[in-house]
Amino acid sequence: MAKREGLEVSVALGDAVKLADTDVVAAYPITPQTHIVEHLAELVADGDLKAAYIPVESEHSAMSACLGASAIGARTFTATASQGLELMHEVLYIASSMRLPVVMAVANRALSAPISIWGDHSDAMAVRDTGWIQIFVENGQETVDNVICAFRIGEDRRVLLPVMIHLDGFSLTHVIEPIILPEQSEVDQFLPPFKYPLPLDPKKPVTMGAFGPPFIYTEVKWAQEVNLEAAKAVILECWQEFGKTFGRYYSPVESHHSEGAKVLLLTMGSLSETAMVAVDKMRGEGKEVGLLKLRLWRPFPFAELRQAVKDAEVLIVLDRALSFGGPGGPVCSEVKAALYHETKKPKVIGFVGGLGGRDISMSGFEEMINKGAELARTGSEREFEIFGVRE
């Protein structure tokens, strides 16, 4: 029986990568991701993980090395954050277009300037369209579980796509909390060895990432889109199977007291835990409020989201990133798009908050829910509002 122990989430994440028997780790340290790759370097140096650890000179090189490793059929992992993720930006598209199932943990952090090492989702939103499967987690256990799932999902023959696990910098990466690490034998059973169908091999040469003139490029992109959409069925299957094996179930849109709720709040990542406390308190006072947590960001869970909000009158969306000069937060704007064609839909109220490590307390969430409901009731909502900003 796997034991519940006090582990730093970054360390537990590294241990999950070890449990997955990863072959190659190529990474460059950046706060708040550093502990993850430090721990992996230690595991490799101590011989506890039989993997090649490639220290590189930048994140661009880290992702490039990961592509090469994945293309020969090696199970490959990296981690980064913030500016590091931005520096590898162009290579991210290549991983997904070449169908290389690299797994990457992103310790979500704000983007400069001003320099901020603290958490928000600006980095995640900037790589929204890179073609990766993207999953958000809210605590240490979810991090461990979803890293293991990420390998199984990405490497599935029906998927073959890279997967990002987004965990909030500091408020997850630097916290020691109770975590159950699965037994090696259980993980071995759950996660089959990686067999890339057409690996790079000098004995049987193949071309990857070839020239794509106008007569074929559109079809390649169409195939990529169909593929990413179809990955959702495999993700659901994987989470179901994970639940059966380990007793912890995950789904694309998760809810907390959403039944019969007239006002719903939608959050992502570790702030969802604080939001749950606020919703519990308000429910205790007889208020019909509930919480939705968007776990699967790409492919976007259209059907699950529509189902989850169909009986609500107001849907308040919290974004931890800002689309400058645009319609507010990227999540809110996508939620609105997903509901546009629905005949019965809640009024959507957008807040941007929790930027650059700004905390939102339980009473902050209470205020956000009350304010959102009031804006909807009086019809005085704007495109979006930055929560708690000193104007």
Partner: protein
């Protein structure tokens, strides 16, 4: 929020091991079947400069709050020189406890730094030195346990042995001695 939740704020200087102490205390609490968190202040830290670390321990239910502790039940000061340069008791709950490593008497600490309420003191520097331990962080865990009973001395053994290997015993000795020598005043 349940009253079973105990929030602790550690004040030390970079390199004194405040973060390590918080981590070991959380591990001990989790091994006892409780829910616990430990984390450093979410900022860049420098050796010798004031640093913070935090614990939340709940004996009954999972902890969902992840923000820094700004209204602690317990404040632990590893280096009493910090009392002169920062407000260590900021936000301390009304019936909270202040724990200080000092050679001075409780009366001197109270009058010099205006600390009222529950105060636990010990000369952890002396105990650590005499035990052959280079820092006071593990010694101060003994004081925490004496003042709060938040975990048992016994529960600290496994995390200390796991972390410090063959020098764990010295840390356990120092912690035990601090537990005995702590002076608590209301």
């Amino acid at each position: 929020m349940t009253s079973k939740l105990i929030e602790i704020r550690w004040h030390g200087r970079g390199g004194q091991g405040a973060v390590t102490s918080a981590e070991l205390v959380a591990q001990a609490a989790i091994n006892e079947g409780k829910y616990a968190q430990a984390f450093p202040s979410f900022s860049p830290e420098r050796r010798g400069a004031p640093v913070l670390a935090f614990n939340r321990i709940n004996s009954e239910e999972p902890i969902r709050t992840r923000a820094e502790v700004d209204q602690p039940d317990v404040v632990i000061v590893l280096d009493s020189s910090l009392l002169a340069i920062l407000d260590a008791t900021s936000g301390l709950k009304e019936k909270g406890t202040v724990i200080v490593n000092t050679k001075k008497s409780a009366e001197q600490i109270r009058s010099e730094f205006g600390i009222s309420g529950r105060l636990a003191i010990v000369d952890a520097t002396k105990i650590a030195q005499e035990s052959g331990v280079p820092t006071v962080n593990t010694t101060m865990v003994g004081v925490l346990i004496k003042a709060t009973n938040v975990i048992t001395l016994e529960a600290m053994k496994e995390p200390l042995e796991k972390r410090f290997g063959r020098v764990a015993e010295r840390n356990i000795q120092a912690m035990g001695r601090a537990y005995q020598e702590t002076v608590i005043g209301e």
